[in-house]
């Protein structure tokens, strides 16, 4: 528990380190997306860049949640509440993959299926 003033004092260093790690992570994200020799997978954006980018982002998010949001030492209630939120949030994202074989088909809006010649402002 980092709730007493003495313990908080000790954690200050940790907060700075995590802050630094987040900066490094951000720079890394941009580097793998922009510097040619760090481009994994094929040339340009592809699924490997996506996986790597999301991996770095997830790591950063985990650091924020564990350290800044004190999830590394919380009461069980908080884990339940947030865990449920995460679970259902993730479930919502996962549901999409059921629709993978059924891409959206869009052919015009309020023009009876015919794209109108000029749709302006």
């Amino acid at each position: 528990m980092a709730d007493s003033p003495e313990e908080i004092k000790k954690s200050i260093r940790l907060y700075l380190i995590i802050g630094g790690a987040l900066f490094v992570g951000t720079v890394l994200t941009v580097m793998v997306a922009t510097i040619p020799w760090m481009d994994i997978g094929g040339h340009g954006f592809d699924v490997w860049d996506m996986i790597l980018g999301l991996l770095i982002a997830t790591t950063k998010a985990t650091l924020v949640a564990l350290i800044f949001m004190h999830l590394n030492h919380e009461k069980v209630w908080v884990y339940w509440l947030f865990g449920m939120g995460l679970f259902f949030g993730a479930a919502m994202v996962a549901l999409i993959f059921l629709a993978k074989g059924d891409p959206i088909h869009y052919d015009g809006f309020s023009t009876g299926g015919q794209p109108s010649a000029v749709i302006s402002e």
Binding site: P5, I8, K9, S11, I12, Y15, L16, I18, G19, L22, F23, T26, T29, V30, A33, T34, G42, H43, G44, F45, D49, M50, G53, L54, I56, A57, A61, V64, A65, F68, M69, K75, V76, W77, V78, L81, F82, M84, G85, L86, F88, G89, A90, M92, V93, L95, I96, A99, K100, P103, I104, H105, Y106, P115, S116, A117, V118, I119, S120, E121
Partner: protein, 609 residues
């Protein structure tokens, strides 16, 4: 009243109350943003157009990420300072946090602003043109501008002195027919103002007489040639509406009179009597008494309904030669209908140029249309003026969608692009495309050594940096007296088509149009499928981008207000119950970290993927 558990934890949860509350809220927020990000995935895998990859300028997003991370650190420090009872440090760190929020929103505003001013067009052949399209220009003598004299002349101002926005139907009106039920006054006013400006007179095309037969009120007669004004059209509309109301009343009275004639006949001849029923349904009398009664009642009701259908306004006129007169407002009407045309037609002695936003016009755009219909029921006849979308600076030419479309049709994308309107009609674009193909050809060779291939974006999209590079190359080549086109040479380690280097300001504000040269292209309206600024309307990428970053921005603002409240109004609580304030700041901080957390995902997803 004392609020329990603001400082001390509850025994059952081990937490003070607001912490439970904020985690509940954050759980719902996770699901909210989770849903939106899943919407993003859905839009992306379902997109029927090339998804814009890595399309936003990275630097502003990167700086904003740094700012949010820094603010996450400072908000933890602010909380720690309170825990250690150091008010001064709390002020410094919380002040820094709120400042970070403001700077973040400042950058966001710049980013949004640039997009709102940046025009894009999707052409009929799916070429995308992006650029800086501002206003129509015309020569000083008022004639339409052509390509050659582009840049000369004045801006065309509207009647309020504002520059005319693009995205408008420009139509020379020769005659107009107004729907008297629902013509929209501001549009009429605009037409009249334009008429005055153009020195035209709009007059009533046909005489309109709203008098009932036998009635001779001069104020209900509108002579052919009367000059259109708000008052005139209002008087006509009022006369029409009065007549419409009287028509409805008269119709009711006529119908009642007709029914009475019919009913008199029924009563006189006992058409609905038991005898008539017996004649129609002899078998009915074999039934039991109460069944027969029921059958008779039903038959009577059915017959009445049938008779009512036979009664019409016409039957009064025709029925037995009886004339029916109806008295309304002291006037006797013998005729069954009053004149009530629901539109008034006007003509102009010379064409009046009016401009309407696309959404006001319900007819599809065709350049040779001689009439258009407005949403308020007004029909305008005349001719379209050429009103091209006039890009003063084209800073993006994108054939990705065209190429995709061609591949779908089993055509060679390169040939499809050669045959696109833009490359065929615009020699500058043709030159740019030739240079770009040269560059992509070299890039292909360079990448092939590493077993890689250029992306679709490399191949088919010329962004502003590429366009500026090619334009500079052409200019330099011509200045040296060179014939034809220059040769593009890529470096051995090239990874993309050649680009000009971006200036610092250009990272944020887009290309510097004054210092760089871009082609000018006027795209005729008939070649345009969709025109838009870079707003949610442009495509689903920008729709979801603005949804998620906009909602995130609202969270930043909300968080900054709460944290700012602790900073500026927390002193008294600090003096009376510092632990309570510390708990409040912790809870506010938790929200703030969550805002940071969302951005940690939003930044790579929107800027880098």
């Amino acid at each position: 009243m004392e609020i329990p558990y603001v400082v001390n934890p509850r025994k059952d949860t081990g937490l003070f109350n607001s912490k439970i509350a904020i985690w509940l809220f954050l759980a719902s927020e996770v699901m909210l943003f989770g849903g939106l990000f899943s919407g993003y995935v859905f839009l992306r895998i379902g997109a029927d157009y090339p998804w814009p990859e890595r399309t936003l300028p990275v630097l502003p997003g990167l700086i904003n990420t740094f700012i949010l991370i820094a603010s996450s650190v400072t908000v933890v420090f602010a909380w720690a300072s309170l825990k250690m009872r150091n008010w001064r440090n709390f002020q410094i760190f919380m002040g820094a946090t709120v400042l970070c929020a403001l700077v973040f929103m400042g950058f966001k505003a710049v980013e949004y602003g640039v997009k709102f001013k940046h025009q894009a067009v999707r052409m009929v052949d799916f070429t995308m043109v992006e650029g800086h399209a501002s206003y129509l220009k015309e020569k000083k003598d008022g004639t339409d501008h052509g390509d050659a004299d582009h840049g000369e002349g004045d801006y065309v101002l509207d009647l309020d002195g504002d520059k005319i926005a693009i995205n408008q139907h420009v139509f020379a009106v020769e005659s107009a027919s107004f729907n008297l039920n629902r013509y929209y006054k501001p549009w009429l006013e605009e037409l009249l103002a334009h008429a005055e400006h153009d020195g035209a007179t709009i007059t009533l095309a046909e005489k309109m007489d709203f008098n009932a037969p036998g009635e001779e009120k001069p104020e209900l007669v509108f002579a052919k040639g009367e000059v259109l004004s708000l008052d005139l059209l209002e008087a006509i509309a009022d006369a029409y509406k009065d007549n419409a109301v009287r028509n409805a009343t008269a119709r009711k009275k006529y119908l009642r009179a007709a029914w009475e004639i019919k009913w008199a006949d029924v009563e006189e001849n006992d058409l609905l009597g038991e005898a008539a029923f017996a004649a129609a349904y002899p078998k009915g009398f074999e039934l039991e008494a109460d069944e027969r009664k029921l059958a008779y009642t039903r038959w009577k009701a059915g017959m009445r309904a049938k008779m009512a259908q036979d009664v019409s306004i016409d039957s009064v006129k025709l029925g037995n030669g009886d004339s029916v007169e109806v008295l309304i407002d002291g006037v006797t009407y013998a005729s069954r209908e009053l004149p009530a045309p629901n539109s008034a037609s006007f003509q102009s002695d010379k064409p009046i140029v009016v401009r309407h936003k696309g959404r006001n016009v319900i007819t599809d755009y065709k350049p040779d249309n001689t009439s258009i219909a407005l949403r308020d029921g007004t029909a305008l006849t005349g001719t379209y003026k050429p009103s091209p979308v006039d890009f003063h600076e084209v800073d993006g030419i994108d054939f990705q969608h065209l190429a995709m479309d061609a591949e779908k049709k089993n055509l060679d994308p390169e040939i499809a692009i050669e045959n696109s309107w833009l490359v065929k009609e615009n020699p500058v674009v043709a030159d740019l495309w030739t240079l770009h193909r040269q560059a992509v050809g070299q890039l292909e060779e360079i990448l092939a050594k590493k077993n890689r291939v250029p992306t679709e974006k490399d191949r088919y999209r010329m962004g502003w940096q590429e366009i500026a590079y090619y334009m500079d190359a052409i200019e330099a080549h011509r200045e040296q007296g060179g014939e034809g086109l220059p040769t593009i040479e890529l470096a051995d380690n090239a990874n993309a088509p050649p680009k000009v280097k971006m200036g610092l300001k250009e990272h944020f504000m887009g290309p510097n149009y004054e210092a760089r040269s871009f082609p000018h292209i006027a795209i005729p309206r008939a070649e345009i499928l969709l025109e838009s600024k870079f707003t949610p309307k442009w495509n689903s990428y920008y729709a979801i981008y603005f949804t998620i970053t906009g909602l995130h921005g609202l969270h930043v603002v909300g968080g900054a207000i709460v944290l700012g409240y602790y900073l500026f109004f927390g002193r008294r609580m600090y003096l009376t119950n510092p632990e309570w304030l510390a708990n409040r700041v912790e809870v506010g901080g938790l929200f703030w970290h969550f805002v940071d957390l969302v951005w940690i995902f939003a930044f790579p997803i929107f800027y880098l993927m």
